[in-house]
């Protein structure tokens, strides 16, 4: 009994993809529904994608100097609304696109991941500026994340320090092309695996995963100690 109990913590951490057993193959499952949707989507996609690509609403997200150019492209001189992106939304739940305009620091990283996860699918990312592509001139700094692609998947890279507003428009057009040509299946394939909306526990500032792992380890230790299988733990303590 003690052995099985002690194994639970380590075994439960892996999530296995669900496979359909043989005897259930011929019943109507979600997969067959999916197939139907996929068939339908070949007819619907061109229209849906056309509509989608012409109304990519960006999130108001600017963390440093690049944000000035992003504001500029929203104003009348460059006027991003000519391409259907006129509304900069202040909440991720109403946006389709993050233009990560500015340096991302380690302290900002959990916030960016949370924002990205709160965007409804389909969601797109333009990494704007050298800082979000590679870390830019703060590449060597202790506090800077070397590119947002370390945190979230990026669709269009837009280098420059800062990129000109025309550059942003170009990136947007590239993104629109990408949206027009992709199908539902393709989008599914590269779908982002949601980690958790509360990626970080805001009380302790630590990732929830770490807290859970710690609790698991403590449980395992307590179990092992209670049943006398404490040899390797004792070694670790010394």
């Amino acid at each position: 009994m003690s052995e099985t109990d002690a194994k639970i913590p380590s075994g439960a951490s892996e999530s296995v993809p669900v496979s359909i057993p043989e005897e259930l193959k011929d019943t109507v499952t979600l997969t067959t529904l999916d197939k139907a949707i996929e068939l339908l989507s070949s007819a619907v996609d061109p229209v849906a994608n056309w509509a989608r690509s012409n109304s990519v609403w960006p999130l108001t997200f600017g963390t440093s100097c690049c944000a000035i150019e992003m504001m500029c492209v929203g104003m009348s001189a460059f006027d991003i609304s000519r391409f259907g992106s006129e509304v900069f939304r202040a909440t991720p739940r109403q946006a389709d696109l993050i233009i990560t305009a500015g340096t991302i620091t380690r302290k900002m990283a959990p916030a960016l991941v949370t924002l990205y996860e709160q965007l409804p699918e389909p969601k797109y990312v333009i990494a704007m500026g050298a800082c979000t592509v590679t870390g830019g001139m703060f590449n060597d700094s202790y506090s800077v994340v070397q590119g947002v692609d370390r945190l979230i998947p990026v669709d269009v890279y837009l280098p420059g320090c800062p990129p000109r507003p025309e550059g942003i428009l170009d990136a947007l057009l590239k993104l629109q092309q990408k949206i027009r040509t992709e199908s539902l299946a393709e989008r599914r394939k590269r779908a982002y695996r949601q980690r958790a909306v509360r990626y970080v526990d805001y009380d302790t500032g630590r990732p929830v995963e770490d807290l859970v792992a710690e609790a698991r380890m403590e449980t395992a230790e307590a179990l092992a100690e209670a049943t006398g299988y404490a040899l390797d733990h004792q070694v670790r303590k010394v």
């Binding site: 302290k107 590449n139 070397q146 590119g147 370390r150 945190l151």
Partner: protein
């Protein structure tokens, strides 16, 4: 201060005579040591235990009136940890730099250098001291809330120290030729 510092102190005293602010402090019985001017601004070194009294005198006296604390900064010098205070007087339009230096030899390993805090009587120092603690690792004794302010709360080490080495993890391994 350790014994090794005494002769050096005496020499420097011969070289540099106390400036107006140093004289003022001496009149009030607070010993200070003049350092070479920084950009034409009088610079004095104080012992940690006189810091609070000196700061209160400089701030409250009518003729000196150094009542604006511009910044509190930290320096990791080769031999010492310096806590640097810049004071400004709007009525006299002049400036003073005060340093408290803690010799590295006197700081035990795994401990941070201790400097008395100004925050209890000078709120402007509050966040500056937190920042200095965060980046240079000087512990201000008596600070009401000495926590990291710029870096995430669980940061290891103090990034502006000379001996700071950052771990390479998934967020910063892109540049192989990093100077870190």
């Amino acid at each position: 201060m350790s014994e090794g510092h005494e002769p050096e102190k005496a020499e420097a005293k011969d070289e540099l005579k106390a400036g107006p602010f140093g004289q003022f402090l001496e009149e009030h019985g607070i010993p200070s040591r003049r350092l070479p001017d920084s950009c034409g601004v009088e610079t004095i070194e104080l012992d940690g235990k006189h810091l609070e009294a000196a700061m209160k005198r400089l701030r409250n006296s009518h003729e000196i009136a150094l009542n604006f604390l511009v910044s509190v900064a930290g320096v990791d010098s080769p031999e010492t940890y310096d806590s640097v205070y810049h004071l400004w007087s709007y009525s006299n339009l002049n400036e003073l730099v005060v340093k408290v230096r803690v010799p590295k030899a006197s700081v035990p390993e795994d401990r941070l250098p201790l400097v008395p805090s100004l925050a209890p009587f000078w709120p402007a120092a509050n966040w500056h001291e937190r920042e200095t603690y965060d980046l240079v690792g000087i512990r201000y004794v008596g600070h009401p809330y000495l926590r990291r302010i710029l870096n995430p709360w669980d940061w290891e080490g103090h990034p502006l120290r000379r001996d700071y080495k950052q771990l390479v993890d998934a967020l910063n391994d892109k540049n192989q030729f990093s100077m870190r």
